[in-house]
């Protein structure tokens, strides 16, 4: 497929630049793996230290809401993949449609997450923000706080992703012939955010 991108210094050849851009994004995603790896390491350490408390706390989370969110995010990745393919086939209008779906699904995820946070807050499942009515086992509180920190970090990344997709869409609308590579790179980031959730969901919700 022809690389549709805007050639920039120091590259003289579009294929060359595309290879470098792809590698750059993969290296960046590698750093994000290490970022989330840190939080997962904390979760693992706590799982080993307080197994029953972790299981007890995890079972208080809303498994189904989390599951629906997983489906929403996976579908958004599908939409993103369609957008990338469309741009490579020089079909910007299809791409814009797919990107709108991506954004909509991403926002749906954030909306459901906000709903879930509200529910958690009301149920006293956010000890860091609101001490619960009856005293919780400290280890359970730890799990719930970790859940909040991890999903919040993920949500921040997702929000950034939504921003990127909107920015990408505006560029496609203005100058579609040069955005195939940008779309592909944005797609890689989006898929990564999805994959992070695919790890977080079982670790946080399915430990029972």
């Amino acid at each position: 497929m022809a690389e549709r991108l805007k050639l920039r210094e120091p590259f003289a050849d579009p294929a060359h630049q595309a290879a470098a851009d792809r590698m750059g994004m993969f290296v960046f995603l590698g750093t994000e793996v290490m970022l989330f790896g840190g939080i997962l390491a904390v979760a693992l350490a706590d799982r080993i230290r307080h197994p029953e408390a972790m299981i007890a706390a995890s079972s208080r989370l809303d498994l189904w809401l989390g599951g629906i969110n997983t489906a929403v995010l996976l579908t958004s990745s599908l939409a993103m993949a369609i957008a990338v393919a469309a741009m490579h086939q020089d079909r910007p209008r299809v791409a814009l449609g797919a990107l709108s779906a991506t954004v909509a699904l991403g926002l749906a995820f954030l909306g459901l997450k906000a709903l879930e946070y509200g529910q958690d807050y009301a149920d006293g499942l956010m000890p860091a923000l609101a001490p619960p009515a009856e005293p919780t086992d400290p280890a359970q509180a730890l799990f719930l706080n970790l859940y909040l920190a991890a999903t919040a970090l993920h949500a921040v990344h997702l929000t950034i992703g939504i921003g990127l997709v909107l920015w990408l869409a505006s560029r496609i609308a203005r100058r579609p012939e040069e955005q195939a590579m940008t779309t592909e790179l944005t797609g890689l980031y989006w898929h990564f955010v999805d994959i992070v959730w695919v790890f977080l969901y079982p670790v946080l919700y399915l430990v029972r």
Binding site: P10, A12, G24, L35, I39, A45, A53, P138, L153
Partner: protein, 551 residues
């Protein structure tokens, strides 16, 4: 020498002005042309200015520390004041000087030149990384002027998360921010080395400077994010009490130490690997001879980077970690010294049957080798479990890491400055002053830090400013050394700046040395090469005999 004539034409995307073709320094004189540049050479200069500023701020903190330690009662600074002084000294020197120092100045400037490229792979990302650095720096200055922070640069919990007063969250934020600068720099280097090498520049022809920066970049991109998440969790603990590190809430203070050192140990390799790369270049140029054992030196850089990720527990031998884990970390810490030893022996062997020059850069290289060896050996001593139990958290450790980071990295930084200054600026400087400053730095440094080995073994704890009066003589010697060292560091500042106006113009290759950076004018034109070179020779292709040697 490389065959430049047959090379591919330059990309010609951006038409060059006459000024740009002459020198990158002349390609625009406005502030805007500097602050919005994407030229890796100008970005290197921007970094050079910024890190020099922080070097002096961190150095001022060090001066306060050493002055306070002149007397055993700690009467210059209050207890709180002393704690803030050593904390800001550590935070600034580690994250705003040492980690960026060589990669962002010399790495940025030289890597494209050394591999035959016109710029890094992502020039705008390069500029962004400088702005992120500046932002982190501004937050640090905010912390400094609003009273500082008193946790030590290590931010151990629960002290930092629950007890410390001072701007802990702001300091953590500053470090978090500047971490992104590191990550982007490392990312840029990795992709550049993979994709922008000139035709014929295979991995086996890369200068060792590039190999060591490549290894450094692997550490930068993989380790720094762990620091980011660790500091974020520590700040969240402080702000919201989430309980990850607080035992009363089910957490574990040791978990913080594991996470922190998982980054911070590889971080010290971020600080030393580029310096080793510089020294490889300097030794080859000093001896006018290829570096002995090229592949062993190249792979040693990678080995240090990899094994460096596996030794973090040696900071925790007395922290309450299992003794079996400690034994494993001790063993690996000894193993990580092996590639460094290989480099030192190889550099020495390079000098054998060479044509050795004692110009200023090469004196700095010798200084590096001497001081790094002492630092490295004392590191091995610290890796020995029963010894570390005694000297952990004493000034012995302080002396060890200053030998490596200051005796090592800073010497290499000055060596690089003196070696590539003609290339950066097109000027030469006074060789006499250059040699003098190398000698003063070597002597001042030893006088400052050798007594701290003795003090540490005697039992002087680190981060103490009240001490047994019997220790005073050693402290006075150390402060005297620090004064000499301070003067010695200001000297190059003076004569190098002087050379900008009054130094004789430098030719393209004053030393002379091999390497593509020496085939372009001094200073280089904005787009580096008129034609992308085609590389046909091995690296360090020095002839055996030189004209001018009798016999």
């Amino acid at each position: 020498m490389t065959d430049i004539q047959a090379g591919l034409p330059a990309s010609g995307i951006v038409p060059e002005t006459a000024e740009e073709r002459v020198s990158y320094l002349r390609a625009g004189h406005s502030l805007r042309s500097w602050l919005l540049t994407t030229d890796h050479k100008r970005i290197a200069i921007l970094y050079l200015i910024a890190i020099t500023a922080f070097f002096f701020i961190g150095g001022a903190a060090a001066a306060l520390i050493r002055l306070d330690l002149l007397t055993p009662q700690g009467d210059l600074l209050s207890n709180e004041g002393y704690n803030r002084a050593f904390t800001i000294h550590g935070v600034i020197m580690v994250w705003f000087f040492l980690i960026p120092s060589i990669p962002t100045t010399f790495g940025n400037f030289l890597i494209p030149l050394m591999i035959g490229a016109r710029d890094l792979a992502f020039p705008r990302l390069n500029l962004l990384s400088w702005y992120i650095y500046v932002l982190g720096g501004l937050v640090t200055i905010y912390v400094l002027v609003t009273g500082g922070v008193d946790t030590g640069w290590t931010f151990y919990t629960p002290l930092s998360s629950m007890f410390a007063n001072g701007h802990v969250v702001a300091a953590a934020a500053a470090v978090f921010i500047v971490g992104f600068s590191s990550i982007l720099t490392g990312l840029n280097f990795i992709v550049t080395v993979h994709t922008l090498r000139a035709p014929g520049m295979g991995w086996g022809r890369l200068p060792l400077f590039v190999w060591s920066h490549y290894a450094t970049s692997l550490v930068l991109v993989l380790a720094t994010p762990v620091l980011a998440v660790t500091l974020a969790l520590m700040a969240a603990e402080r702000l919201f009490g989430i309980g990850i590190f607080d035992p009363a809430l089910g957490g574990d203070p040791l978990l913080y130490q594991h996470l922190f050192w998982f980054y911070s140990h590889p971080a010290v390799y971020i600080m030393i690997l580029p310096a080793m790369g510089v020294v490889s270049e300097l030794v080859a140029a000093a001896a006018h001879k290829p570096v002995f054992g090229y592949w062993f030196v190249a792979f040693s850089s990678l080995a240090i980077a990899v094994i460096g990720f596996l030794v973090w527990g040696h900071h925790m031998f007395v922290a309450g970690q299992s003794m079996y884990a400690s034994a494993v970390f001790s063993f690996l810490s000894i193993a990580v010294a092996v590639p460094s030893a290989i480099k030192v022996y190889n550099w020495t062997a390079t000098l054998y049957k060479g044509h050795i020059s004692l110009e200023p850069p090469f004196l700095f290289a010798m200084s590096f080798i001497g001081l790094f060896v002492i630092g490295g050996l004392t590191g091995l001593m610290l890796a020995l479990l029963a010894v570390d139990v005694h000297v952990h958290d004493t000034t012995f450790v302080i002396a060890h890491f200053h030998y490596i980071m200051v005796g090592g990295t800073v010497s290499a930084f000055f060596g690089a400055l003196h070696y590539w200054w003609p290339k950066f600026t097109g000027r030469t400087y006074s060789r006499i002053w250059g040699r003098l400053s190398a000698i003063f730095i070597f002597l001042g440094f030893n006088l400052t830090f050798f007594p701290q080995f003795l003090l540490g073994y005697l039992g002087m704890p680190r981060r103490y400013h009240v001490y047994d009066p019997a220790f005073q003589v050693l402290h006075v010697l150390s402060t005297a050394g620090a004064s000499l060292l301070g003067v010695a560091y200001v000297l190059p500042f003076a004569y190098l700046l002087y050379s900008l106006r009054h130094g004789a113009p430098a030719g393209p290759n004053p030393w002379p040395a091999t390497g593509l950076e020496w085939t372009v004018p001094s200073p280089p034109p904005k787009h580096n090469f008129d034609r992308i070179p085609v590389v046909t020779e091995a690296p360090y292709a020095y002839p055996v005999e030189r004209r001018g040697d009798d016999g």
